[in-house]
């Protein structure tokens, strides 16, 4: 019903808006306007009058040279090998994050590992402790699944007040990929887990020997040992040649460059699950083992730093995801949250994966505040900023999933605002 309404209103908008070009929105000055004159009828552009680049001119394809501005952004950090880089969500389309643009959170640099040297030790409370190489892993029954990956610190810089300029900086610790590998349960069955076991320690082979404890239920439910993403082997900065993917949970537990799994009967309480990745509340107590990334959404078009060029039809488009299952619905408001209408969800809705939503909007040339609100299949509704702050304060750095507001001014300029 709601979709029907949306489609009808979209048709009306399309009819009234007339010609719609890509130029409705200027993400930055890089989209060329100077070349327009050369390629105007009756002129024949120069690229039609000579042969192009040879077949296979790049044996591994690269984006067009006109897309050079679409890159990750690295935040300043104490050490070049420690910190984050963020995904340019404002320049991406659909739902899959290109492998070269997936955000990074590194704790001790990116190790360069020859896959012939890769070993995974599985031990502890198991019948048959094993050491596996990549040939062993690839021999096991494989699956491919699309899951989002989000750092639990995503958007936390804007917790107290809006400070980030664009959606790359507010929400760019988010990516969504097709992951290929082996269900962790397959390997756990292979080693024979003691029924009394309750937790598994996962350890990476980077210079921080990054380590997290995982409840065994999740390990048997949907956790994956992953060697490929988006159809090719993992990128080095994404854990080549072997990593965990723990669907829907904070990215920090999807341990990269995985070298060891130890089955035990208690959490291990490592530094990365105590000193960090715990959520400090106003009373001074901290929540521990806060794994799930709850439902969240953000409008990526139009978003901070962009500019609407024309009144009339301007499609609103964004991303929504939930660590607790499938996205059920996304609502959009263009009046700072007074009125909400259902957006269209484009494409398949998969559990713990990003969906793309769109909403047909006619900009009247005046100021507007754009928001999106995700609802997941558990009935959970993405909260407002004030709801989060009233309960959790502003000292926590993790799991901030508030409704994001983008302000549009009468010049069409879009900025990060508080509403």
């Amino acid at each position: 019903m709601d979709n029907q309404k949306v489609n009808n209103s979209k048709r009306k908008l399309l009819a009234s808006a007339g010609a719609i070009g890509l130029g409705g929105l200027v993400p930055n000055s890089a989209i060329g306007q100077s070349s327009g004159s050369e390629n105007m009828p009756p002129n024949i552009p120069k690229w039609m009058k000579s042969l192009g680049e040879p077949v296979n001119w790049r044996s591994y394809g690269l984006p067009s040279e006109f897309e050079k501005h679409v890159v990750k952004f690295k935040r300043p950090s104490d050490q070049p090998t420690e910190g984050v880089s963020l995904t340019p969500l404002q320049d991406l389309h659909g739902t899959i994050t290109p492998s070269g643009l997936i955000f990074e959170r590194q704790h001790g640099g990116v190790p360069i590992i020859d896959p012939s040297q890769q070993r995974l030790m599985v031990h502890g409370m198991v019948k048959r402790p094993l050491l596996l190489d990549m040939n062993d892993i690839v021999r096991l029954p494989s699956i491919s699944r699309v899951y989002f990956l989000e750092c639990s610190g995503n958007t936390s810089r804007d917790w107290a007040k809006p400070v980030s300029k664009n959606v790359q900086q507010t929400h760019g610790l988010l990516s969504n990929c097709e992951w290929t590998g082996v269900l962790l349960s397959t390997l756990l069955d292979e080693v024979g887990v003691d029924p009394k076991a309750t937790w598994i320690l996962a350890e990476g082979s980077d210079a921080s020997a990054h380590t997290r404890s995982l409840p065994i239920g999740k390990c048997f439910e949907d956790a994956m040992l992953v060697y490929a993403q988006n159809g090719e082997m993992l990128r080095p900065e994404q854990g080549y040649p072997l990593r965990l993917i723990i669907p829907g949970w904070e990215g920090n537990v999807s341990v990269k460059w995985l070298r060891r799994l130890k089955v035990g009967d208690a959490p291990f309480y490592t530094r990365q699950e105590t000193s960090r990745y715990t959520d400090l509340m106003p009373d001074g107590k901290a929540r521990e083992f806060t794994f799930v990334m709850e439902a969240k959404s953000v409008i990526t078009k139009p978003s901070g730093g962009q500019k609407l060029l024309k009144q009339g039809f301007n499609e609103i488009s964004g991303l929504a995801w939930s660590g607790n299952g499938r996205i059920q619905r996304v609502d959009v408001s263009t009046d700072a949250g007074k009125t909400w209408r259902e957006a269209r969800i484009d494409g398949p809705v998969q559990t713990r994966a990003v969906v793309r939503f769109t909403y047909p909007w006619s900009w009247n040339g005046g100021p507007a505040i754009l928001q999106s609100r995700a609802v997941d299949e558990t009935g959970y509704v993405q909260p407002t900023r004030s709801q989060i702050i009233s309960l959790r304060g502003i000292n926590s750095r993790y799991h901030y999933n508030a409704i994001q507001s983008w302000g549009v001014n009468s010049n069409g300029e879009v900025s990060n605002v508080q509403a």
Binding site: L132, A266, K285, F289, R373, P383
Partner: protein
């Protein structure tokens, strides 16, 4: 006269054979590990002390090691800059400016040992000997006024150190927020 039903017996035997075959079925991947091989990589330390190696150290032995390996990033007295502050902050967790350090925040002393042992010094991880890790751990606990300067830490004593924020952690209560999906005339 008792006449066994051979068809039922045969069925039972077949079922037990096939189920045991299923249980024992493995893909035959990997190499069986010896205890010695496991020992080489089995470096983690739990709060109960499981995994702590032999060796010992105190703040006295740890201080020169801290100055040599840690102070450049964490400050002469653990005050931080450029890297994380390690000392102080007690009583600040429920204020507007919480200072989360080893002394104010970390719940178990074993975490200090485990993290130094696996990830520090930042530019040369896994290069310190157990005695050195015990010593630096003791020095940090001493700077945070948790243990006396001459207390010897080893596999038996380290897990017994009670950290100030030992009971500062609670389990995840989420979902803790319940937004109303209002459609019209909503209060933003």
């Amino acid at each position: 006269m008792f006449r066994p039903d051979f068809s039922k017996i045969l069925l039972a035997v077949l079922i037990s054979l096939s189920s045991s075959a299923l249980l024992a079925q493995t893909y035959g991947v990997g190499k069986t590990l010896t205890n010695k091989e496991i020992e080489g990589w089995n470096i983690d330390v739990r709060p109960d002390g499981q995994g702590l190696p032999k060796g010992s150290g105190s703040a006295v032995t740890g201080k020169p090691l801290y100055v040599q390996y840690c102070a450049a990033c964490h400050g002469q007295n653990g005050e931080g800059k450029p890297s994380n502050q390690l000392v102080g902050g007690r009583g600040s967790l429920n204020t507007a400016k919480p200072i989360m350090t080893v002394g104010s925040y970390w719940p178990y002393a074993t975490i200090v040992f485990d993290y130094i042992n696996r990830a520090m010094p930042f530019h040369a991880p896994q290069s310190l000997k157990p005695d050195e890790v015990y010593g630096i751990t003791a020095y940090l606990l001493y700077l945070n006024q948790i243990i006396p300067e001459n207390e010897i830490l080893d596999a038996k004593t380290l897990p017994k150190v009670v950290m100030p924020n030992r009971y500062g952690f609670i389990s995840d209560p989420r979902p803790d927020l319940h937004n109303n999906p209002c459609r019209d005339s909503c209060k933003p």
